[in-house]
Assembly symmetry: C2
Homo-oligomer: 449 residues x 2
């Protein structure tokens, strides 16, 4: 009889694992259970579906059930696994459409259960008009409400919160962002955070930093505002909760798998859990940081895909290893692209590095070529020797590519001196003769001992 692979969770990580395993070993019997109505959806695209840039929910789907079937992957949506029996090697599944419960046996099990939005423990979080944004269903619901809303409050000034804030503002709503920390995107250096705040404010978004929402106010079960710790009340008919996510590990915990940092499922570099017949990948488990080697919880689509593929390889006996992560991030806040990778200076110091940083501002084209946009570039590096630890770039659309150069440089263990010697491309219409990267490297070199 063919070996049976059961995958819990039918988005990025789970389907990467299923596809890779099936492609490498076509005789494998692969079954996927997905709780929502949608497989393989680009959750990162949800803010743009809410804002209307993406027309239909289906546009976010890479592979639907039929396409997966053609790959030999038997996928069941609206099916929730509610129990794992490691003794008997089977899962208990409930079909959500009619409540029927059945068992599915496995030889190998993959947990790709993802993450769930954190909900603040304050009064009013369950009022109508208060939403999180995680699933396609969330997106459909939120988009339908946006059309009838005038004033939105986004609680949480991280990447997703700001993307939704931008999109809500673009659809014409009055938008206020409430962030607990004293700045937005706290992984950025302070002056870089300020630039993000400026971009939001210049587009009419009101930003509250160092502000804590203590209550969501309602009337007759409907939200009408948010109360802050300083007593201020912001009126709103729509509240988005975007204070982060936590790994969805109830099944893992129920069956006694070991958990790691932030409660994420503990895995080794092959994505194997503490049970050798169970793998985990994606937002439900941790990854390993390239620079520290430590387990870190970095729930991102890029990582989920890569971990899924590595799980898939190992399932069929190919000993692949997950590459480390740098926590590379990018977003666009109106006309400002914000990208970061590796460690911030404060974070690097906490990890025990003798980190310093420098920030430069330089146009992304030759000074005389029209249309240049200032790029703000931060490098974080070891004071002794100058090994690169992190980078941030804010500016036009080319900021992302510039941070990607640093992703490669950091992964390769380069120093700021080596960075400054790179033979980067130059043409007046595309870059200045000294690229912002080289200017930053040259500035950084002065601080190296």
């Amino acid at each position: 009889m063919a070996k049976r692979l059961v995958v819990i969770g039918g988005t990025a990580a789970g389907l990467s694992a299923a596809s890779k395993a099936k492609r490498s070993c076509p005789e494998l019997d692969v079954t996927v259970f997905e709780r929502t109505c949608y497989t393989s959806y680009g959750a990162c695209g949800l803010p743009y579906f809410v804002g209307g840039l993406v027309a239909e929910p289906e546009d976010l789907i890479t592979l639907n059930v039929e396409q997966l079937a053609r790959r030999g992957i038997d996928t069941h949506v609206r099916h929730e696994v509610q129990k794992i029996d490691r003794e008997r090697k089977c899962v208990e599944v409930v079909r959500l459409t009619d409540g029927r419960v059945f068992e599915a046996p496995y030889d190998i099990l993959v947990l790709a259960t993802g993450a769930k939005p954190l909900v603040p423990d304050i009064q009013g979080h369950d009022l109508k008009g208060v939403h999180s944004l995680r699933t396609v269903e969330d997106g459909i619901m939120l988009r339908s409400i946006v059309r009838e809303s005038k004033r939105a409050v986004v609680i949480g000034g991280g990447f997703i919160g700001l993307e939704v804030a931008e999109q809500l503002r673009e659809t014409g709503l009055h938008v206020e962002v409430v962030e607990l920390e004293n700045r937005l995107l706290p992984m950025l250096e302070e002056s870089n955070s300020q630039m993000v705040k400026d971009a939001l404010e210049s587009h009419g978004v009101v930003v509250h930093t160092g502000a804590s929402a203590t209550e969501i106010l309602g009337t007759d079960g409907f939200v009408h505002g948010v109360k802050l710790a300083n007593g201020e009340e912001i009126s709103a008919d729509l509240v988005l909760l975007s204070i982060g996510v936590s790994p969805e590990t109830s099944l893992a915990a129920q069956c006694g798998l070991e958990l790691g940092p932030k409660g994420a499922i503990k895995v080794d570099a092959h994505q194997r859990t503490s049970d050798p017949d169970i793998y985990a990948c994606g937002d439900c488990c941790h990854s390993f940081h390239t620079l520290t080697g430590k387990p870190v919880y970095v729930p991102l689509g890029t990582t989920a895909n890569k971990q899924g593929r590595v799980a898939g390889e190992n399932i069929v006996g190919n000993p692949a290893t997950s590459p480390g992560v740098l926590g590379s991030l990018v977003t666009k806040v109106f006309n400002l692209t914000v990208a970061a990778t590796g460690l911030g200076e404060a974070q690097a110091k906490r990890e025990g590095f003798d980190a310093v940083s420098c920030t430069i501002v330089k146009s992304d084209r030759a000074s005389y070529y029209p249309g240049g946009i200032d790029t703000r570039m931060t490098l974080v590096f070891e004071q002794k020797g100058g090994r690169l630890l992190g980078a941030q770039a804010l500016g036009g659309p080319t900021a992302a590519g510039r941070v990607n150069v640093l992703v490669a440089a950091i992964a390769a263990g380069m120093t700021v001196q080596q960075l400054g010697e790179l033979d980067l491309v130059y043409s007046p219409s595309v870059a200045p003769v000294y690229d912002p990267i080289l200017i930053a490297a040259s500035q950084a070199l002065k601080l190296v001992q």
Copy 2:
């Protein structure tokens, strides 16, 4: 008495050397002689001055004589060095404004004499309306003629030829490009060259490849057309010669310095010539290729600046070494950005590498996010082991940044497998979850043995 540094040539390389040396050793007596009227001009910006995107010649100037004087650098424009006396350690200078000849003694001499345009040995190359584009004076002359011209022929389909072709077309001229090789930008893979040709043709530029200009036709001393080897005659009132440059080494040859590949001045990694008191930097000398270690002639502004700085360091006793070059290039042809670094497949094979390549096409954004532009990405790598040797990207403005990631990866000696493991940034508005770089790496990995 202070040590005397004399620099011949007042643009990128020469002024980088002068500035670095003066800054590191303020008591140094620094004199620069520049033959043209302009110092420190961005020659790469000349096509955009001709096309009118750059308004004034002065916009191309980074540092003029007064600004250089404030840095303690005594700069003389319209001064041509006509002889170097290595015995007596002095140069013979002619002041071009009045023909006065004088001697200037040196302790250290820097040759930054640049390159000169190649002129084809065909009849009519000296007709009125036939131009090269190298100096600001060339640019001023060409721009004044463009206004009265209707039909232009660009002889030479390299980067500069295509930039001028684009600009002439943008100003409304009928433009034809004549290229001897069977494709444009022959350092690109064939299908990539075709994409460049398509971009030109879709904007109305007529492209002749595998075509040799055998005569420039004229009447009463004025150009009126170009005759091709196949007998075809193209009518034109403006002809740009852009078939490449050769190092300007007449002074170096006169005083008996050793020459290297392509007749460029021979230098060591410290930019020192065969005379230990004479340095050379920029387009008059060669550089060393990062991958082969061999001397190569790559006359580019980026290299010139870096070589100048290295010369400046060594002049004052700091033993700096020039980094190798990959020959990284980028340009924009209408809406197509074309970037390349390292070796092409054919070139790599000629250098003895067991090179293979692969090319993929992928949108530069998430498929569902509006405005994505297809990026065509080529990787060249060693079949055995997969070490990266070169890369090309053609597409929207982000193509340049993607090639720069490869610049870092190649400099670090990465393999296609390591490239595929990079934690590149992702957001639907900025990149697909599998960046074109990662897709190319994954495709390449299949060819690695």
